[in-house]
């Protein structure tokens, strides 16, 4: 109980003031043994005695009685839950925060920073591994460095080399130094640009997704019947991104026509989201429902909804994030996501409670289904795609024991005992 910690705060303040227990007791007219009981939270305190003690300690009474901020307690709980190899005394958390609010604040702040840095590492690790522009730039830098190292070593060798070779190597060194400077600058500029809000990475899918995100994943014009082809794509840089966005908009328009907003409003009013019931009500397939739910305005679906679509190779074709739900941008995702397991059982709708590991733990209700993209002819192998709707669960609810654990990708996943692990996690090495 928070209000029983007043004694702990009195003790802490007294020690900060350098007062002995007997001295403070004398000042406020009580025995040292009674103050000792108060300080160990074995006696309640209030009224005039509290005011007198506060005055003797030169603090406001509220400083001694004020409960610890709920956010601090919550942050400490998260820090305890994320701790690896160290079990925190969660039962004594209130007491710790009450007696040492400064240290508790520092711990909460450090944990928040670790979470933030993990996210940065996750993003950068993914980009450094798979971003084609970074890979090309790094190759350029390393190749130039190799040429410089080799040439410089030849010139630094004792003994003479022919004047013609020497001049040629000097010229090469100069050329390579210029190249290295330019390629390094370009790489830094690219990484710097990536941090900006207007990030345009040059990868068509990311550009198209950024366009959708910029529109809040909702297009009122299309909802009102406007042709998707008339939506301006001038904000997109590349033709490839425009093509991808155009295809996405066409799907959006078809879904919107099949499940009009006004009818959806009635269907969702006061109802728990049930994709199968919606599919039956609108006579549409489940992929249509899952996509449509992810693109609704907040007045229809107040909770955030994430979406991922992939093809049979596991390549993510569209990704709409929600807080805590992270899929690698360039492949190598955790194969345990229902998005991928659905591909094992095409046309079977999956509903699964998922706990995503790797940072502050997040829990989601996931709906997924794989469906044949098109029938191309008799005896032709079907080409499947899979779609997954991701709905965060109420954070106040306790974690469900039947929730399946998944990661983002092996490299940053703390779940070591995993039959699908492809490579060791850098987190297991003490990140």
């Amino acid at each position: 109980m928070r209000d029983t910690l007043t004694g702990s705060r009195i003790r802490e303040r007294r020690q900060i003031s350098g007062l002995r227990q007997a001295e403070l007791a004398r000042q406020v007219g009580i025995s040292a043994s009674y103050l000792n009981l108060i300080e160990h939270n074995r006696r309640r305190i209030g009224g005039k005695l509290l005011v007198d003690i506060a005055a003797a300690l030169a603090v406001e009474p509220s400083v001694l009685t004020q409960g610890i901020e709920a956010t601090l307690i919550s942050a400490l709980r998260e820090a305890a839950a994320d701790a690896v190899g160290q079990k925190a005394e969660v039962d004594g958390l209130d007491e710790f925060a009450g007696r040492f609010p400064g240290w508790a604040g520092v711990l909460a702040q450090m944990h928040s920073r670790v979470v933030s840095l993990e996210r940065t590492v996750e993003t950068l690790a993914d980009r450094l591994t798979h971003d084609p522009q970074i890979a090309a730039s790094m190759h350029e830098v390393l190749s130039t460095a190799a040429a410089i190292r080799s040439t410089a070593a030849i010139l630094a060798e004792p003994g003479e080399i022919g004047a013609e070779w020497r001049d040629r190597f000097h010229k090469n060194l100069h050329q390579d130094a210029e190249r290295l400077a330019e390629s390094s600058k370009a790489l830094v500029a690219y990484l710097d640009d990536s941090e900006s809000a207007d990030d345009k990475s040059g990868i068509p899918l990311e550009e198209a997704e950024a366009f959708f995100a910029g529109q809040g994943h909702h297009f009122p014009e299309i909802e009102q019947g406007q042709d998707a082809g008339q939506i301006s794509l001038d904000d997109l840089d590349s033709g490839a991104a425009k093509t991808v966005a155009r295809e996405m908009l066409a799907v959006y328009a078809a879904d919107a026509a099949a499940m009009p907003l006004d009818q959806l409003r009635d269907a969702l009013a006061g109802q728990e989201v049930d994709p199968l019931k919606l599919a039956a009500r609108f006579s549409v397939d489940l992929p249509t429902v899952l996509r449509r739910l992810a693109f609704l305005p907040k007045d229809l679906l107040p909770q955030p909804a994430g979406l991922a679509i992939c093809d049979a190779s596991g390549s993510v074709l569209f990704y709409k994030p929600v807080p805590g739900f992270a899929l690698p941008r360039h492949g190598e995702a955790c194969p345990l996501w229902p998005l991928f397991t659905a591909l094992n059982r095409p046309l079977v709708p999956l509903r699964k409670r998922i706990t995503q590991l790797g940072r502050t733990i997040a829990e989601f209700e996931c709906y997924a289904i794989a469906w044949p993209q098109a029938v191309t002819g008799f005896d032709a192998d079907p080409v499947y795609r899979s779609v997954m709707l991701v709905l965060p669960t109420e954070s106040a609810l306790p974690a469900r024991s039947d929730a399946s654990e998944v990661g983002t990708s092996c490299r940053i996943c703390p779940r070591n005992q995993c039959e699908t692990r492809r490579e060791p996690s850098i987190l297991s090495e003490g990140f």
Binding site: S143, A146, R168
Partner: protein, 126 residues
């Protein structure tokens, strides 16, 4: 008879430095900068050793090596592979393709010379 090395690398200044080093060691050095026809060039040149870059225009060094190993009498030709990617999976991929030695950029001249000497000595003994 002169020992011949074929250097397949699209960075001209790396090519120049390695050519200088190996020529000084008594090697006859031929060069090529394309991946597309690299296998044909190797077959025609009949070198004692190949130094092969991974990132080549037209066709990757990995694919060149895989195709090369499928040719008769090319299973044991020493191939030293140069790459800017030194991750374990790249090394594993190169080993599966049949590489003799794998070296990451930026390398030192002594590393290249030692590798070439070792590979040639091993090939001569077998």
């Amino acid at each position: 008879m002169s020992r011949k090395v074929l250097l397949i690398e699209d960075e001209p200044n790396i090519t120049e430095a390695i050519r200088f080093l190996l020529t000084r060691e008594g090697w006859q050095v031929e060069t090529h900068a394309e991946g597309t026809d690299a296998v044909q060039v190797i077959l025609a040149a009949e070198p004692d050793l190949v130094i092969l870059d991974v990132m080549l225009p037209g066709k990757s060094g990995m694919d060149v090596l895989r195709d090369l190993r499928e040719h008769e009498n090319m299973a044991r030709l020493p191939v030293l592979m140069l790459t800017a990617r030194g991750q374990s999976r790249d090394r594993e991929m190169a080993e599966n393709a049949g590489v003799s030695r794998f070296m990451t950029k930026p390398f030192s001249n002594s590393e290249v010379l030692t590798a070439v000497r070792d590979l040639h000595a091993q090939a001569s003994q077998s």
